[in-house]
Amino acid sequence: MSAASSARPRPLHFAAFVMNTTGHIIQGTWRRPAARQTDFNDLEHWVRLAKTLERGKFDAVFFADVVGLYAPYRGDERKYFEAGLQVPSNDPSVLASAIAYVTEHLGIAFTASVLQEHPFNFARRVSTLDHASKGRIAWNIVTNYLPNASRNFGLEGLTRHDERYEWADEYVDVSYKLWEGSWEEDALLQDRAAGVHADFDKVHKINHEGPRYKVEGPHLVSPSPQRTPLLFQAGASEAGRTFAAKNAEAVFIQSPNLAAAARDTADIRLRAARHGRSGSDIKFFQGLYVVPGSTEAEAKQKAAELDEWIDYDAQLSHISGAIGIDFGHEDLDTPVGELKTEGVQSVVGWIKDLVPDRPATLRDVAHYTATNSRIVGTPEQIADGLARWQAAGVDGINLVNAEIPGSYEEFVDHVAPVLQRRGLMQAEYAAGTLRHKLFGRGDRLPDRHPAARYRGAFAPQRA
């Protein structure tokens, strides 16, 4: 029995990649008859999804977020509204307590930019949610790449790229001090007979003073099950990778192929080791989606039908608006190699690998942003495909949807059972917090994580 079980693969982790909006990654599909992305204002929409995910033993739901409009496309922002492309959008963090209440095991990861809130308040909100969920919260740490978002928060425009990560460094530093250092483990006594609620000698100010923030403390919230939430990050740049190597426990990658995934994961694991961490301290989640069918032919037919709904102009506007280079006036059949705008080759150069036999065009870029990271086939074929991602170094999948709730209901009902039978997906939840579920070594960050240095560090400074 032990031999048989040791031959089984490790399960991959699964998160549902969603956003509190109509058009997240695959644009245009909100128009499909059964699609309910447009119901994102309703709590019931998310409650139902969360229950479906827990039924399917998903590790987590992962909420993306932006706090502004994408940069102009074809000269303005019209396309984003017409496509519902991440606008209107609602705050993801406030969904967490309701989702926590209706589930028992599902992790709840949400994106929050260092731009939108002071770290003192943010740390408090996260701790509140970690208590409410009994330790199931993850924070996807992001800077900001949208000029409009910067201008929503009083800045003139984007912060320089390297400066954004200096900002993020200080932001997490303040948060770590509050989460890990301000309250000692046994500070909360709740001793009714003695009338002592907490031990003052074990609650500490942090007295942080840095270039951007000055924060006295103490943290207002007592230690939550995980203290620091599970730390997600998604930066692909040099500065982003370094930040991930230092801080992240889970990295969301969008590698265009298996070779790139192998390269990306190895690179960040190596960097983590250089920062005194272990490569195994980081789990990598590849973003992709699946189109299952009972036969391969049926799956392909479904994928072809899905492709007809995709709004390729919106797909192109998304990438265009994210990098701040307006492709909107270009002919879609322009070969990518002929685009002269500064910096453009580094962001769309990957397309040439995917279209080796002819000059790749903007139309190819639009098409592949919607269809490259997907697996079409029977559940068995999907399992084979996922096993290949795993062999390339990926630990989990951030599962993109073509529609909500359909994509996830279909996955849970038809794909998950096959994955579970093959040991590629957990069939039961482990007990404990999200961090413990993922790493199996307790609720808290390991001692070699940079946040751990603040444990016991503020003892002399009383509140």
Binding site: V67, F81, E82, A96, T128, H197
Partner: protein, 477 residues
């Protein structure tokens, strides 16, 4: 004869152990220690909705009470609002288990950028289908200021100046940025929202610069019901212009009445009607089936009441507990040292000054007795004092609410002071004012509707997108 005034009934809460009745968390069966658990809040929400409460009103602070005895030691020991958790984040779970209960959420305008808060409230208003209110505060704790990078508290007048601009930004986002019919969701023609009906706000003021547009689409109420807690001069002008439900208080009913009259006057001066503003106060109710049962409860509460908790809460800059009771107050203190809620009376001795602290009965609106006695008192508050509703003080969670629901609610219903059931489909604003989901046209916020007073348009109406797109024109790149 006009109809009887209906009571606005809220439960006064805070996401912490010891909110305003210090020491009582130790009462047998008190659930306050469970505030970290989401089930504490969902059970409470169900109970309040079962009992017909209008809303749960959640106070908040973002610092510690560390003035008394020179540190937060007393507060930490007492559980006096520390640890405390964010109030807004427990609301969605409560919303998931209720259909009618409203939510008053406290948030300070002093330290956080308005854009994210506007979005969070709109999200909550969407999720609750229009059941959200915002209790606007400007923060008064020095430690809160130091948690957000300042060296100390901003001057009171300046905090209200910031709050006034903060509200202006939020009104532009909530009322002006999106037209009601902006969402088309036209599947056939592939148009989700009509860009011509959505606009940035380009706010540039003394304290804030915000481009917009608002990210959420219009929620049911757009602007949540605006609460504010005040009795000060700057607060009066602010409340007259902005507030729909004033949470006020004071040492005597006479003080209360002057506050109410002052704010109604300020409302009229701001172009509103006197009855556009409702007034709620903190009220203590201890009720029993018999008088002796009520008195026994009161005695049990008094036994555990902690004077230290009240002293720390008041923020005294001196410690009267170490002084002989006959000491003249004027010899050891001045008007700045007696805390933020108390008038300085130079004729008092320290003993007299101290005697009020920890006395749970010592508030202008307090009633203890049988259901009829309590109901008589509440009717007096409504008709004679002139308030419109109460934030019910909790001595024991959930017994205070349970007792009120079991014993007082039926009497108030019989007397026409509470409705017997919820209107199945009304927003919080409609429930309080009976005039629809949105702010009335005469409220300052209404000026931004349809994009009036806003400089920008998102999308051009002319055929040339390059020439008339203000949004693009303002892009610094």
């Amino acid at each position: 004869m006009t109809a009887k005034k209906r009571l606005i009934l809220n439960l006064f809460e805070m996401n912490c152990v010891s909110h305003i009745t210090h020491g009582l968390w130790r009462l047998p069966g008190n659930n306050r220690e469970r505030f970290n658990d989401i089930e504490y809040w969902t059970e409470l929400a169900r109970l309040l909705e079962y009992g017909g409460f209008d809303a749960v009103f959640i106070a908040d602070v973002i610092g510690t009470y560390d003035v008394f005895r020179g540190s937060a030691e007393t507060s930490v020991r007492e559980g006096l609002q520390i640890p405390n958790n964010d109030p807004s984040l427990v609301v969605p779970a409560m919303a998931a288990v209720t259909r009618h209960l409203g939510f008053g959420i406290t948030f300070s305008t002093t330290y956080e950028p308005p854009f994210a808060w506007a979005r969070r409230l709109s999200t909550l208003d969407h999720l609750t289908k229009g059941r959200v209110g915002w209790n606007i505060v400007t923060s008064y704790l020095p430690n809160a200021a130091r948690n957000f990078g300042l060296d100390g508290e901003l001057d009171h007048g300046k905090r209200y100046e910031i709050a006034d601009e903060y509200l202006d930004v939020l009104y532009k986002l909530w009322e002006g940025s999106w037209d009601d019919d902006a969402i088309i969701a036209d599947r056939e023609h592939n148009v989700f929202a009509d860009p011509a009906k959505i606009r940035p706000i380009f706010h540039e003021g003394t304290y804030f610069k915000v481009e917009g547009p608002h990210l959420p689409s219009p929620s049911r109420q757009r602007t949540p019901v605006l609460f504010s807690a005040t009795a000060s001069g700057d607060g009066t002008k602010f409340a007259g212009k902005h507030t729909e439900v004033v949470f006020t208080g004071g040492p005597t009913t006479g003080f209360l009445q002057r506050t109410i009259a002052g704010i109604r006057q300020a409302a009229v001066e701001a172009g509103r009607r006197p009855d556009d503003v409702k007034f709620i106060t903190q009220a203590g109710v201890i009720v029993g089936k018999t008088e002796s049962e009520a008195l026994a409860k009161r005695a049990a509460y008094e036994r555990l009441s902690s004077r230290d908790g009240y002293l720390a809460h008041a923020g005294l800059t001196f410690d009267p507990t170490g002084l002989p009771p006959e000491t003249r107050l004027v010899d050891v203190a001045d008007e700045f040292s007696v805390g933020r809620r108390r008038a300085f009376d130079p004729a008092q001795t320290v003993g007299e000054f101290l005697s009020g602290f920890g006395d749970i009965t010592r508030q202008p609106l307090f009633a203890c007795g049988t259901p009829d006695v309590v109901a008589d008192a509440i009717e007096g508050w409504l008709d004679e004092v002139g308030i419109d509703g109460i934030n019910l003080t909790q001595y024991h969670s959930y017994d205070t609410a349970r007792d009120f629901i079991e014993l007082v609610v039926p009497v108030l219903r019989a007397r026409g002071r509470l409705r017997t059931e919820y209107d199945p489909d009304e927003s919080l604003r409609d429930r309080i004012f009976g005039a629809g989901d949105r702010l009335p046209d005469r409220h300052y916020a209404a000026r931004y509707r349809g994009g009036a007073f806003l400089p920008g348009r998102l999308s051009p109406s002319s055929p040339d997108p390059g020439s008339s797109n203000d949004f693009k024109g303002r892009d610094p790149r």
